[in-house]
Symmetry: C2
Subunit: 462 residues, 2 copies
């Protein structure tokens, strides 16, 4: 059962260790740090206790058939372990070990075939090989075999064929991002469980609101399409997929041994199924947090409020290129703004607020402009571009107030220059308040345009 890969009542760690650099140590440590709620059965022939857990000498000697086993031993012992698991009645297994279809030698490829054979013969469910497994922020399951900080529970699921989701990106999120995760899955070589299986699972998971995926190939295109088309009506699916160049397809064979399929076909599939395709991890995360924090913009009309004229100009170009409109403010808005600008200053969209800041300071300029523009019925989304904060002021507090007052407006902040330390401080405060925050104008504009595209897809489904 796929459920056992996310919330098993018990987990056996085959190859558990008490020595820190070893993978079998980190699996144990991560289970404990993430507060796994089930029973933990470490298996190691030479130990008595690991991190406070009683150790079992072999799979056979386990006190019960664990609902999930994690295999963290070199590849040569994997087939035997699978058989022993089956004998014990353990049916759900994560194979962390690499060197199967991802290997460069015939032996690995042969062993991959044998894993598939055992799956068929013994009725096993396998995730991997070459998989870091699952992090489930609800059950506390974490089968990653590297050291990790504990990330926040949230509504974004990360699924795919990269260990980065369960290692490097967890550390990146833990050390400087503020969005939360629901489930993380590193599929590895997909000898059995594939993207469609886990997609279906998170679709029914009430914790997950946004689904972000990295794919190299799709095993069953028809099933994936049907699932995605259904799910994307209620949860946005953002996908980065490799294999659009011949070179990329070649590299994939050494990575996960996956065949990419025709990229045009995948593109068409995305369009039809409402999948939002992106081409970099940065965009994947930029967009995931926006979907997590924001409701969708009502239309394509945006305003740019910028501390720099050049950034406003550049932002209006990005907007135009991405199908967004910058309407002029209505008379009421202009009247409210005029009061804090010198008489000669243009009060137009994009709004260059520099002269207002000089005249009345940040603390009056930012709330006056944000409130006036948010109140303008012509404007649905606002990008507030902070250009040169040399004074500290409560940016997050100001933006939060406006968002509370105008919850239907899509409000995004970006830093286009200025002191790094002040920007970092503001970034942290804004993101903690679930206001999406980006560095560089194009990232902010790009996010809003993608939200609008997804909204249009949903409307076409009505």
């Amino acid at each position: 059962m796929i459920k056992h890969f996310f919330e098993p009542k018990s987990v056996a760690v085959i190859g558990a260790s008490d020595t820190p650099p070893k993978g079998g140590y980190h699996v144990m440590n991560n289970l404990i740090n993430y507060g796994f709620k089930g029973k933990i059965f470490p298996v190691n022939p030479g130990k008595k206790e690991i991190l406070g857990c009683t150790v079992y000498r072999s799979i056979k000697e386990l006190p019960e058939a664990a609902e999930l086993a994690v295999i963290v031993i070199p590849r040569d012992g994997v087939l035997q372990a699978l058989r022993e698991c089956a004998d014990k009645g353990i049916q759900s297994i994560i194979i962390s070990s690499g060197g199967f279809s991802d290997a460069d030698d015939e032996k690995g490829k042969e062993m991959a075939r044998q894993v598939s054979e055992l799956v068929r013969q013994l009725g096993l469910k396998i995730m991997g090989p070459n998989s870091l497994g699952v992090i489930d922020l609800s059950s506390g399951l974490n089968t990653t075999f590297g050291p990790l900080g504990v990330v926040k529970k949230g509504d974004i699921a990360l699924l795919g064929q990269t260990g980065l989701f369960a290692t490097g990106f967890i550390r990146w999120i833990h050390s400087g991002q503020y969005f939360g995760l629901s489930k993380v899955v590193s599929l590895g070589n997909k000898s059995d469980i594939d993207e469609s299986d886990v997609l279906e699972y998170v679709a029914n998971d009430s914790d997950t609101r946004v689904i972000a995926m990295y794919l190299e190939g799709v095993r069953d295109g028809k099933r994936f399409y049907k699932l995605a088309a259904e799910i994307s009506k209620s949860k946005p699916i953002i996908v980065i997929k490799s294999g659009r160049t011949e070179r990329g397809r070649r590299s994939m064979l050494s990575h996960t041994g996956t065949l990419a399929g025709d990229d045009n076909v995948f593109n068409a599939l995305c369009k039809q199924a409402g999948i939002i395709r992106v081409y970099s991890f940065q965009k994947l995360f930029d967009l995931s947090k926006a979907f997590s924090y924001l409701s969708l913009p009502l239309d394509n009309n945006i305003a740019i409020i910028s501390g720099s004229g050049a950034s406003g100009v550049i932002g209006s170009e990005y907007a135009a290129e991405r199908g967004l409109e910058l309407p002029e403010f209505n008379e009421n808005t202009v009247r409210k703004l005029k009061g804090i600008f010198p008489e000669w200053a243009p009060v137009k969209n994009p709004l260059d607020i520099w002269v207002a800041i000089e005249m009345v300071g940040y603390n009056q300029t930012i709330p006056t402009c944000l409130n006036a523009v948010a109140d303008d019925p012509r404007i649905s989304s606002i990008v507030l571009a902070i250009a040169a904060p040399f004074m500290e002021f409560d940016l997050a507090g100001i933006v939060e107030n406006v968002r509370r007052k105008y919850p239907q407006k899509c409000l995004v902040v970006c830093f286009v220059s200025g002191s790094n330390d002040i920007a970092q401080k503001n970034f942290a405060e804004l993101e903690k308040a679930r206001i999406p925050c980006y560095f560089w104008m194009e990232n902010a504009i790009s996010v809003i345009s993608k939200l609008c595209q997804y909204r249009d897809y949903l409307r076409r489904q009505d």
Copy 2:
């Protein structure tokens, strides 16, 4: 004389102040902080001394005709100040004040015409209006009217129609970037001195090796083209230019009052003249520091060494899309690498080093891989992608050693995930050693492809 705008023997500050938030205070303070080597003559009718400098009550009362005047008073007094400067024999003038062709009212536009008229009548040289003027890291001139940290002297010149170059970006560089600047020019409305004038000046400046520009329009296309074509043979010129959409062109009118011209014509001009056109400030800086730190790659062959398989795959796609090649390593290289990988692991380009790190650790994996690949005659550029540094190790020291040994190889580091604090520490150390360092794979690959394009342009000129 344009030279007086960069290294005047004396500068008069019209509207000097001793009260911190005022522009006239910051000009004084910046001149002193940047160690301006000439004489400073503050002009203010009500003060005796400002920051240790004797104050003059009027322009007329100045002890000599300063080689440069900076006007930091509201727009209504500017025309009169220009006349008084001319009477005194001051010919080179920066007008900081805004509200001329950038203004929304008829009065501003009329005053802009009068400024141009005075330039003609009185033989003045004007930078601005609406200009932050010049920062010259050699003479110590800094006419910016906001607070700034002191940035490092280096070989990158920033020229253009944005105050950001002399404000927000200086603070950004000061607080977290490690490249140095030679000259910074904020042109403003270009009533007189334009992009060609300053381009010509930095072309002859021995401090400047890389020229980065933000433009909204080009006043004299023919002159700019001739200059750029000549200069780009020895100094790369990187340009971000607004006005490629109707919406952007409209926004520009409120920013600097500039007419953009036909974007296709500008694109053709760039191609012909060897100008590297980019579309974001991020790319402008990414590329400027690469040109500053690196010599040009000998050919388009790159290697990707990555702590993550997925990032290697993604990187090889970006490379293929940008005309770069990932050749297989030669036999010698493969032999040297095999020793630190499990026997089954693929030793191919892109090189996924994760299993080697698990086997022998970072401290052996990174130098072994970097040295072997740098020694491979098939490889001209290397992207080292750090995916998940959870152990601290001397990355900068390792990379520096390899660069010293293989100076003709183009070596770039990028962080594709991992702990923010470790990445920031490594970023600082690498950049201080002039090794260009980026976040996200696409930024690193994009930089190398642009270096190759410029190299191809230069070869066509031979």
